[in-house]
Symmetry: C2
Subunit: 243 residues, 2 copies
């Protein structure tokens, strides 16, 4: 049985302010929730139609499907929803390539980018403070558990860029990523969906990279930022397979 | 002023069956609609708060913002909505790389893939008959006008694959795309979001390609299909810049 207070708490965690105050987030669905459990994230409360989850927390609450649908952010609620403690991010390791996001807005894009970092073995993802919160429920769902394998920090990008071995950014116009001298370490910045990289960050970058456009028309206005990330990370890793 | 019949017709075009019967689709928003107009798609009717569009069609209807919101599929209706005739696709050109989709489900993915074909100069996109309709409004919005520069055919994939110079498919396990002998022509198949490439198509393919997973964990379950497409097309074009 779900109490009024529990319902209220879960729904309140849909707000960034509340998540940040309580240092908690909500995960939904069997697969994603299992990833957090397996990675030893601390479950504060688990709500499920399946008593399987009782093993993970004393604060296990057996709920009906109807109750789950009241607290779910999904159209078709899955059989488990859990509240986890937000872990403290680890310090940034600047001996490898760091991916940085300058005011990214869209939660689906951020989730996909976290998944791409996981796929391509990028340990550190750094987000500017105005970037969408990585514990937003849409980000959690889109990243499919990759949060557990990517170290995400929210911090001002400028100081990091200033101290980086290589400070690269992606632009519509720039050196082709295929022809560029893509280094093994440094910081690679992607900008906001509508406005790209902001002026004050752009002026600090020493390399401006782009993905060339092909074909007869060359009229496509832009690539989706998550697609751009996938192309850059693939190219970065391809080179590591050649040496 | 918008008549009841006009409203009914526009709303009915949200159904695939109706679009297919009438051979018409709906476009929304200034940018996307302008792309179709510039590419000489035949506007059947244009509804807008801006009389600028009267130049494109005798069937121009001046509408209020309130009227537009009644016929719009968008949360925030943009100032123009148009009905266009679906053009006949051109024959498939098998002298270049053809991208094929085997039962792709998600309209956002299809829209992004059309945009990627446009960016990377892939002329022919072939969709299996069960693939989501490319004139679905979500596909139209996600592709941002790239429909006008990519030739999209819906047809059974098997005959095409049988006659192709090279029949490649993307799988979770296969030759690394970086190490493979990626040919200039042939067909490259991507599968359904949940199930991948179907058995009967898979058995016809002569090359099974994959994107290697990197990093210490190698636990990411899969890449989003649009991200996979972006990586394959980037790799295909990168090679063309090297020769």
């Amino acid at each position: 049985m779900l109490t009024k207070n529990q319902t209220k708490r879960i729904l309140s965690l849909s707000k960034k302010k509340q998540r940040s105050q309580e240092q908690m987030f909500v995960s939904e669905g069997v697969k994603v929730t299992q990833e957090f459990l397996d990675a030893q994230y601390e479950p504060i409360e688990i709500f499920s139609t399946d008593s399987f989850y009782a093993q993970y927390s004393n604060a296990f609450v057996h709920t009906s499907t109807q109750e789950l649908s009241k607290i779910s952010s999904l159209k078709t609620p899955n059989k488990v929803l859990a509240i986890f403690r937000i872990p403290k991010p680890k310090p940034i390791d600047d001996s490898a390539l760091i991916l940085a996001l300058d005011d990214l807005n869209n939660p689906g894009n951020l989730g996909t980018i976290i998944r791409l970092c996981d796929w391509f073995g990028i340990r550190d993802l750094v987000c500017s403070p105005a970037t969408v919160d990585c514990y937003n429920s849409k980000v959690i769902q889109a990243a499919m558990g990759s949060h557990t394998r990517v170290n995400i920090n929210y911090t001002a990008l400028a100081p990091l860029i200033k101290s980086a071995d290589n400070a690269m950014g992606t632009f519509m116009e720039g050196t082709s990523v295929y022809a560029s001298n893509f280094p093994n370490s440094g910081i690679l910045v992607f900008g906001n969906e509508a406005n790209g990289i902001s002026e004050n960050i752009s002026s600090l970058l020493t390399e401006k990279l782009s993905i060339p456009r092909f074909g007869a028309f060359k009229k496509t206005e832009s690539l989706n930022v998550a697609n751009a990330v996938s192309i850059f990370l693939s190219e970065y890793r391809r080179r590591s397979t050649e040496t």
